[in-house]
């Protein structure tokens, strides 16, 4: 079973890379741009046919290493 995990910096944490990308997009003429936040994306395949237990395993991976919970939020989706 395959999942995607998107990791983004929390709202209050400064994202200098996102800010630079945002400024560049504005400089390129994309005036109606409101905000850019940069993040990470993982594709994880788990050898488990039960969605609930598989998703639990991915959640554990996120909490244990993939995500720094002090500064990052994450979202798991089945793909």
């Amino acid at each position: 079973m395959k999942f995607s995990v998107t990791v983004t910096l929390k709202k209050d944490v400064l994202d200098p890379q996102g800010k630079v990308v945002e400024n560049t997009l504005v400089n390129m003429g994309m005036d109606d741009l409101k905000n850019v936040r940069q993040g990470k994306y993982f594709q994880i395949e788990v050898d488990d046919s039960d969605q609930i237990t598989a998703e639990k395993k991915v959640d554990e991976m996120c909490k244990k290493i993939l995500v720094n919970l002090i500064i990052e939020d994450y979202k798991i989706s089945k793909i």
């Binding site: 944490v13 400064l14 200098p16 890379q17 290493i65 500064i71």
Partner: protein, 225 residues
């Protein structure tokens, strides 16, 4: 005084810190990260470098190494732990120190000699310095921007857990003397029991006048006290 320097793939200040320790008469051993037993140590050093190429987050993968369980056990039983630069990042990833190191505010790798002020000299790591003493120490990092939540920041201030802060040569602590955007110019912090110090500046690079200055020596001699 026996010390152990932990070596990860990508560590590159391990030998520098070993030279500094031996110069101060420590009996030092190098310990590979795959070891599951630590030699008897009074001090464990997590050196600077780029363990695992900074994959995932700086220090994240090294923080899950086999030797880390032993380091956590040693730390809990009061062993002194010093994390320098990438070592500091590893300590935050293991949870031995709270908070984290974000990317430098200016998005650039910074390698230069900066000034730091001794904020608390009543620790095992800083007792040979004077309070408010200004040191000139090299920094070389891309992720040195210390960040933590407001409760922990209060605790750091109340319990005297801030060891060093970035300042200018006159000792002014402000935005202009903050190289990387760290909260309150923090350059190094201690845990609540004060047996663990994590710092971004490199004291091991400042132990010989031929190549730099001697401002880092007292950190190592403090430990011998």
């Amino acid at each position: 005084m026996r010390s152990s320097v932990i070596v990860f793939p990508g560590s590159n200040c391990d030998r520098d810190v070993a030279v500094a320790l031996e110069k101060m008469q420590f009996k030092n051993q190098m310990v590979w990260h795959k070891e599951t037993k630590l030699p008897k140590s009074d001090l464990i050093v997590l050196p600077g470098g780029f363990s695992y190429g900074d994959y995932l987050r700086s220090g994240a993968i090294a923080g899950k190494s086999l030797i880390i369980d032993e380091i956590i056990k040693a730390a809990n039983s009061g062993c002194l732990i010093l994390g320098i630069c990438n070592g500091f990042q590893i300590l935050t990833e293991t949870g031995l120190l709270k908070g984290t190191l974000l990317r430098n505010k200016n998005l650039k790798f910074i390698n230069k000699d900066v000034h730091i002020k001794v904020i608390n000299n009543s620790t095992k790591f800083s007792n040979k310095y004077k309070n408010n003493q200004i040191l000139k120490i090299n920094i070389a990092h891309n992720e040195g921007n210390y960040f933590t939540d407001s409760n922990h920041l209060d605790e750091l201030n109340k319990e005297g857990l801030i060891a060093f802060k970035y300042c200018d040569e006159k000792g002014n602590i402000n935005n202009n003397s903050n190289p990387n955007g760290s909260l309150e110019n923090i350059a190094g912090i201690l845990n609540l029991k004060k047996n663990i110090l994590g710092m971004m500046p490199h004291p091991e690079r400042m132990v010989d006048e031929i190549i730099s200055n001697k401002d880092g020596i007292n950190l190592f001699t403090s430990l011998l006290n």
